[in-house]
Subunit: 255 residues, 6 copies
């Protein structure tokens, strides 16, 4: 079975550099995959992407060594299993707020006896190899998103769920839920405290922690604190930022 | 009829800042259209885009004041007319090498008596207004690409074709055809000379000249020489450049 | 933030004329949006439309002043949030039968502290404006569909849920559930009585009431009774009716 | 081989009632096909439709007895042959202005020895039957569009091309080319005269004549003059007209 | 209303030969539908297919007498109802493990008073006929998948749910859940025993039993034991097997 | 630059085993690519595939070592260049009947100074490598289809065109043009003679010869005669053949 470089990097105590895809297109996904990201996450939740586009994007990413990850829209078994069957090597699931949520997530994403994932890895065997059925449980990485006050309250209960590999923080949602401004980087103190707390508890439970970032200085600081999966920017943000930079230069030149 | 801001800017002797779309997606097109480009060109020639995607991208651009332009794959009446019917306010046509080519281009893109464009502006009337049929000939802008040694030889013959509004230079193709390296900005002397020559002849004929650029300093210099439609970067290039910048910062930070 | 004309019309005690889209196509959506409807509803439930087509249709509608509304397939957080992120200014949710259903609907469609909507208004900020995050809760309109005997039993419990702006009646489903024929206009007495009752209770609770109609005389009568959001026909029905009219005239002429 | 009802109706001296599709969607096409049209034309020229959508629309039409016809964007062998391979039983080709144009059209659309159509009727054999290869030449109907002053000048030369079954008039383009207003029904006298002239010459040559119409009274009058294939309205026009009718009634009712 | 040949065959005590579609394409679906399968199942669960592709595939199948069946991704009302509205004559639902699951499945797929299916059979009436609303409950066939140890434990509770027409076995999932290897044909003894047991109990309850097979000898043996709906192979498997056969012959010939 | 295995195999005097794709889907293409074909040809001419689907299929093939080839619909520069830009490593062009046709084909598919291909290898550089611009002319393989009596008459003129790497025979079209039955394998004597003649002349000119086959025995015999690129079957044919085999077994078993 093809290795999951997320696990390889983690075994070496290295952080994963994750890119983000919100545009439903296989050519833009392939372009991003050729830039050197360790992994790319196809965002089915807030990205403008559905399952059909995701499949072609997974194929595009599969032309490179970049690891394909999918953020599903919700904790719903249908789309989690379809994403895995299509070859996702990582699943990020939003709004895991309770121990029961986390248990469901583990169940939906692992074959028996560890879980209740239905069998039919139609593209995953092409991507992963013929032994995917027996190796998938130990290869795929599942991230539970910790992004609400409720999840914070249940943090240890969630982190102790057997089979949960990793967690992922959406700073915007976490901030909103704590009554703070919804931003990625310069979060309010209450959110900042939570972000520090979560990575500490995750380390204590042997669970890998990931987080969404806007700027590299913030991402580097978070890696220093123990985060091992850091997202930076997104395809859509690169379009806006690249345009703004160029237009600014031209308008400054009176054009 | 909705004005064509290209003509408005030109009447004021201002240059048009044109963005470039190679990704077949209406959300990325809409994102680009919200950045402040004067116009956006959907590239059906070297972009990874076909007619069906183009229609949704034209709609996305139409949610803003940015002028929609289409580069067609070739001097072929079917796609030129379909692009116009779909609401393109500008057409860029590759490889116009002879006076006859230029005459065909004008014919395909104008209604009788000026040309032979077939009647059926099905989306163009929604975009442009109910008087599109009578105003289109004077509103839409047509660019003939001057990008070969043959076109250079025939330059005055081409520029003097009645109804040809504008020309557009692809520095890569022009360079290749002249035996130089295919680049946008730091072109070889022979190509640089041609680029200067073309804008001079265009001005002499009262034809607007446009050109593809990679960097803003180059674009500004070309505007200073008389170019009035300058393209900078593209959606796909912004993805690569934005990723490279961020990844460089992170790798420098040992992540 | 761009105003929601539904709220503007309602403040002036005017009824909203709503068109209906069952065809998954951005050009037909744009054609409909240019006819003067106050709002257009993209029907993801019984229409033959999925999320990907919906996005292009929302863009097409956004080229006009018509307000974009989405009927989701079911009370499910994933698609409700994705529709809002894509720029829907109204959500119609089927089969809201209990107070708990209505509370979930409000939660899924509002940001904290009013609800639990996840943050990521990727296209909504382009459509609504940069202040969408802070204004969305007070701008977007959410309709709970009252269309079963059970919902009738729980009517006041549903209508008193805080944050529920509006309700919408599907006369067919309501009729079926009451043991009547599933029609839009000439409903059986039991359904007619329920339709009158619902608008009365809605008015008592300060909740706006909408309803699906086939004919304009029926819609006018319902407006007179207090309905403030009336749907008439649909794209697919106009195709059938228009064809039948023309074919009837021709066959009568012996062609 | 499945009969071509166009030929059957013509053998009985009956006119064909043809509907028109400009919306790229298989569900709207199927809806139209269920209304009783003798044939439906998928318009790849001025309709907002490409090849990929056309295939699904041909399949949708194939669920009924309605005959599928395709108007190609231009006299170009690639798309003519692809449309036939996909199961079109009729081809309408724009802008056939000379005898040579008409000869090319016949060549592209018939197998040797009558023409040079390339062999590969991949979906056509499913639609037509296993004997499609040997019967297609005598089953498919090819229409040359007569819509310019030049075509009028060459009318007899065109009509006498062997293998040309039928012609089709676009009153808008014909009017434009003759210096008249581009309309379907109430054409200017010069265009009206041409329309009468063309059907007379077609009859003289044993070629069937078709024409585009907006209103049924005009279509009936043209059938009376000898036209045997009359188009009425289109899917997009039914959307606009249906909406206008309903909105007019509601606005009149002060809603 | 168009008959459901599944019911007709069953009334004659004949088994249904079912083909399987995992490729999201209407042309491949039409090709399969022309081969003589009694029914074809579009697999939205493990197949690489979403709703939008499914609609075009249902249309493609509707050009033949083959019965269209859909396997939904999960026991979720939105997609079950959308599949039925789109004209599916059979629904296969995965992971029905309890009596409550089975009751929900029956409720979601039948109109009141038998269930709670929402009314809007937009394509189903075109496929089935104008009396679809009154006949659908007795025409459509619903299969509950029995594929876990839990479902085996609850077998009689499930089979006795009123309105449940049929069950379907996924031998892979059933095997996995019982601690056996996930295969279709040569299942481990424990799974084999369960497969025999299930069909016996189904017969006792008057419920039709279906099962997934890889080879025809296995399918024939299962029909002999009482299975009345047998799936064989799939589109994707035919591609692999056909390629392997040909490549093997060529490589043996030293090419 | 990534090698073109067609050239590598040919240098070793080995024949290329080529598979054929007529289904517009990236998952079926990826499935085919995993079977071990040396190359796969995406058929834009008689296959039911357009440019947009082709791009995703090229990406799917790029996940393996199989060489991606495209058959274009016609000798038209737009689609030839777009296919190359999208990463095709081989182009098969139908109906090359004259020396001028062959010269155009070579011109359209090579950069200056060898040809007039426009510069913009947007996906090709990702697939082939950064040195694609300088290496493409010597890497990509171009096949001229010899499939008419006219081409036979001009055979030596065509084969001697500089830069023409290879030819490809469509036995059906060649047969039709010679007045024979349109089949792949058991061609009529006149066509058989032509097929033998063509490979002899190709060898004399140092041009590689390819041919379409239905059965492996025929393909093996043709390889023995000197053909070095043999196509066998197609995705659509495997679906039909696989279904027929299984259905035959079941019907023989009285199911």
């Amino acid at each position: 079975m093809r290795e999951n470089r997320l696990r390889t990097l983690w075994r070496n105590d290295q952080a994963v550099l994750n890119g983000w895809l919100a545009i439903a297109n296989s050519f833009s996904a392939e372009t991003m995959a050729h830039q050197g990201w360790d992994s790319l996450t196809i965002d089915l939740q807030h990205g403008v992407i559905d399952y059909a586009a995701m499949v072609t994007m997974l194929q595009a990413i599969s032309t490179t060594a970049t690891v394909p990850v999918v953020r599903v829209p919700w904790l719903e078994p249908g789309i989690i299993m379809k994403s895995l069957d299509a070859g996702a090597y990582g699943i990020i699931c939003p709004m895991v707020n309770t121990r029961e949520d986390a248990q469901k997530l583990v169940a939906y994403s692992h074959y028996a006896p560890r879980g209740t994932r239905s069998f039919g890895p139609i593209r995953a065997t092409m991507y992963g190899g013929a032994d995917y059925p027996s190796q998938a449980n130990d290869t795929v990485v599942v991230f539970a998103m910790i992004e609400t006050a409720q999840a914070l309250d249940n943090l240890d209960d969630i982190l102790s769920v057997e089979g949960l590999d990793a967690i992922y923080i959406g700073p915007s949602d976490l901030s909103l839920s704590l009554g703070c401004r919804p931003v990625f980087d310069d979060v309010d103190p209450k959110a900042a405290q939570a972000i520090d707390h979560i990575v500490e508890r995750a380390k204590a439970h042997g669970v890998y922690a990931g987080i969404h970032n806007g700027r590299s200085d913030v991402a580097l600081a978070r890696v220093a604190k123990g985060y091992r999966f850091v997202t930076l920017g997104s395809d859509a943000r690169f379009l806006a930022a690249g345009s703004q930079a160029v237009l600014g230069e031209m308008r400054a030149g009176k054009v």
